[in-house]
């Protein structure tokens, strides 16, 4: 045990002290901070120059109605949507300058088109009575209207039409506003008999963050495990170490040491992310609604660590088998493939977390770090499934560790050519690790 501890300490300190550790630890939060803060800053900078739209209408009155809806703060549905939140901010009256044009003829169309080309307007909407009748209006703009943009337009037009019809049937204008008030839908998730506000987007975000962290950690530190195995092999450190300790201790120490490095890094990231995210919450109010339960957080840490150990063990085995780093890189797909498959399985599992597909794929050790975590976050599965999945994962890690130790044991003493699969099988048989 003392040896394992010594090896953990060495692997940990040697990695944490490297420049690349410091750089990666600081760089990733910096990039994320830029990703969060920059769009907000840019958006607020844009307010200086409003977008200039022209509505081509048959009657001034209908035009006013549509303009009123477009500029109304209520015009975008309050549907608890993070994206919508942002666009609503942007759509404050100052953001848009909307002119009415009551000369719907083809010459006017040409004029608007040339003004668009000249940049004096940003877009125009062909909203003549004929177009409205045909239920098809055309927006011509410099920037292709995005989905939210388009729904904003069609919602506003729809509401204007309804308002027009209601007014024509003699409904008072304040009643019209009342009637047009959109209905909000709030989703409530029931888990263990307790109701909680559900947020699929937040859930997906949290799970996706897990996958990304796992991916980054596996790629970065897995390679570092492989490299260190290769170094031990290519110099004769192995011989010295094996004259002091066993290959199983060596392997266990290496993986746990590297695991601790990963946890340290992610711990730092979480703290930094908190520091960066708190001020950003003012800009993204709905982000504050992401609530991760302590159980989900605990399972995040546990599954991250286990997944990380499993994938690192595979890297170590690759390191023991190959002789150069390039050869090792070629075999990386073995590691990346299961992670990619797990990402593809996220959708189906999230939709039906109790379906056989979800249950069984979350049992497979190479997927379970992602999929079991997803299931726990979405809808906690029965305890036996969690226990079984974790046991399978831990068992696989232990098995991988023993296999790696054996490959390592024999592989490191074979120099030169890469062994064939039958040769590796033979090593496994005769190496007394």
């Amino acid at each position: 045990m003392r040896n394992v501890w010594l090896i953990i300490r060495r692997e940990y300190l040697e990695r944490v002290r490297t420049r690349s550790f410091v750089v990666l630890t600081l760089l990733l939060p910096a990039i994320m901070a830029l990703g969060f803060v920059l769009p907000v800053r840019l958006a607020s900078m844009n307010t200086g120059k409003p977008e200039h739209l022209v509505l081509v209408v048959s009657s001034q009155q209908f035009g006013e109605l549509v303009r009123g809806q477009l500029l109304s703060p209520k015009s975008s549905a309050d549907d608890d949507d993070t994206g919508e939140q942002v666009t609503r901010d942007r759509r404050s009256a100052a953001r848009y300058l909307i002119d009415l044009d009551v000369h719907p003829n083809s010459a006017e169309n040409e004029t608007l088109r040339s003004r668009l080309a000249a940049g004096t307007i940003d877009g125009y909407l062909w909203l003549t009575d004929a177009a409205v009748q045909a239920k098809k209006v055309v927006y011509t703009g410099r920037n292709m209207a995005g989905l939210t943009e388009r729904s904003w337009l069609s919602d506003s037009i729809g509401r204007a039409l309804v308002a027009q019809q209601l007014a024509a049937r003699g409904v008072a204008s304040d009643q019209v506003d009342q009637l047009l008030q959109p209905v909000q839908v709030e989703t409530v998730r029931v888990s263990h008999g307790k109701a909680g506000k559900s947020d699929d987007r937040a859930m997906f975000f949290a799970v996706f963050a897990m996958v990304m962290l796992l991916y980054v950690a596996v790629i970065f530190y897995g390679v570092s495990v492989m490299r260190s195995v290769l170094e031990e092999k290519n110099t004769r450190i192995m011989e010295v170490l094996l004259s002091s300790t066993t290959s199983t201790q060596l392997m266990a120490g290496k993986l746990l040491g590297v695991g601790a490095v990963g946890l340290t890094q992610i711990g730092i990231w979480i703290v930094l992310a908190g520091m960066i995210a708190l001020p950003s919450l003012a800009f993204y109010p709905s982000l504050s609604e992401i609530r991760i339960s302590p159980a989900a957080l605990a399972s995040f840490v546990l599954l991250f660590l286990l997944g990380y150990l499993l994938y690192s063990a595979v890297y170590a085995a690759i390191g023991a088998v190959v002789t150069t780093e390039q050869e090792g890189q070629q075999l990386q797909f073995i590691i990346v493939l299961p992670l990619i498959i797990a990402v593809f399985l996220m959708g189906p599992v999230m939709r039906a977390p109790d379906a056989p597909l979800a249950v069984w794929t979350s049992m497979i050790p190479f997927f379970s770090p992602v999929l079991l975590y997803l299931r726990i976050a979405v809808q906690p599965p029965p305890a036996w499934q969690i226990v079984l999945s974790l046991a399978l994962l831990a068992g696989t890690i232990a098995g991988m560790l023993l296999v790696c130790a054996r490959i390592y044991r024999v592989g490191v003493l074979m120099y030169g050519k890469r062994p064939t699969l039958p040769e590796i099988m033979k090593w496994l048989k005769y190496a007394k690790a």
Partner: protein, 317 residues
């Protein structure tokens, strides 16, 4: 410098009854290649034992079996009088053939790590490492990374790493490779000192001159088999004083006297000639002094190198 008085297979040692290492019929094959074949040898406590042989003779495989890195396919290995166990390996210090150090680690950290793995407490390990570094002129390098050191200095670090836990048995694979003469002497002196302190030292080398000066006993191996082994002085005595070292000025025709000289080797400063069977050294002295000015004429035992080449060239029985 010479190995005179190295006959330390003293009665005290025999009284202890057991050799430090005893190999009997040890065999190791890789696939179809026989690396070590029915090798038997015995190493007495407190001696320096040389495992000699050309490249690929099976030296390294033998040493690896002794420190448990590889397992023999046949035969028996006794260490400290008992079948080899892991606990024995903790009492050994091992220096591998090529450098086995983490390149990115600092010298002192590395030495402490190696010693801790052998069971030393951290503080003690650091103190001993400092002492050794001082002795081998590495003090100013203890804070540097291993990769910043020259090859020779790395070898010294490796050397220290093998000794910090004060092992009873020191196993070194080509300890002098890559060292300049000054460093070679430093390490050799350190080894002799360890021997005086009662440690047993097993080293492999293909440098016969070094083995000759350092070893009490040797085993010559070739193609995995022991071809010649035992006490070095006795081996050399067995070959008799058949060689003459001659330093001369003038006509060298006497060297080609086939009746007296079987072969000779010109070392530049002097010539070492092997007398033909039955030849009389006195006759050669007369002949030589008649033709050339002699400044040296000495009957010597054959060098280990010569014995080695002889033994290797002999078709093995």
């Amino acid at each position: 410098m010479s190995s005179t008085g190295a006959m330390t297979s003293s009665p005290a040692v025999i009284a202890r009854g057991s050799s430090t290492i005893e190999l009997s019929n040890v065999r190791k094959t890789y696939d179809h290649f026989v690396a070590v074949d029915a090798l038997s040898l015995r190493i007495e406590p407190g001696t320096i034992y040389g495992l000699l042989g050309p490249n690929g003779a099976g030296k390294t495989s033998t040493l690896r079996m002794l420190i448990g890195i590889i397992v023999p396919d046949g035969g028996q290995i006794l260490v400290f009088g008992e079948p080899l166990r892991r606990s024995h390996i903790q009492r050994m210090g091992y220096l591998p053939e090529e450098r086995g150090l983490y390149r990115k680690m600092k010298v002192l950290d590395h030495l402490v790590f190696l010693a801790e793995l052998k069971g030393l407490a951290r503080g003690e390990a650091a103190a001993r490492a400092q002492r050794w570094c001082q002795r081998l002129d590495l003090t100013s390098w203890t804070g540097k990374k291993v990769e910043e050191l020259s090859k020779g200095m790395q070898q010294k670090v490796q050397f220290i790493g093998a000794l910090l836990h004060e092992p009873d048995l020191i196993i070194m694979d080509e300890p002098f490779s890559g060292l300049d003469p000054a460093n070679t002497v430093e390490l050799k002196d350190a080894l002799l000192e360890l021997k005086k302190a009662g440690k047993t030292i097993l080293l492999s080398t293909h440098r016969m001159d070094q083995a000759e000066r350092l070893c009490d006993s040797i085993c010559l191996i070739n193609h995995g088999r022991g071809v010649l082994q035992g006490d070095l002085n006795r081996i050399k005595a067995g070959y008799g004083k058949r060689n003459v070292q001659i330093k001369y000025d003038g006509d060298s025709a006497f060297l080609r006297e086939k009746r007296l000289i079987e072969s000779f080797n010109d070392y530049g400063n002097y010539v070492e000639a092997r007398l033909a069977p039955g030849a009389d050294a006195q006759e050669l002295l007369h002949l030589a002094s008649a033709r050339a000015r002699l400044s040296k004429f000495e009957l010597v035992e054959p060098s280990l190198e010569e014995i080695f080449i002889d033994a290797v060239n002999q078709p093995h029985a």
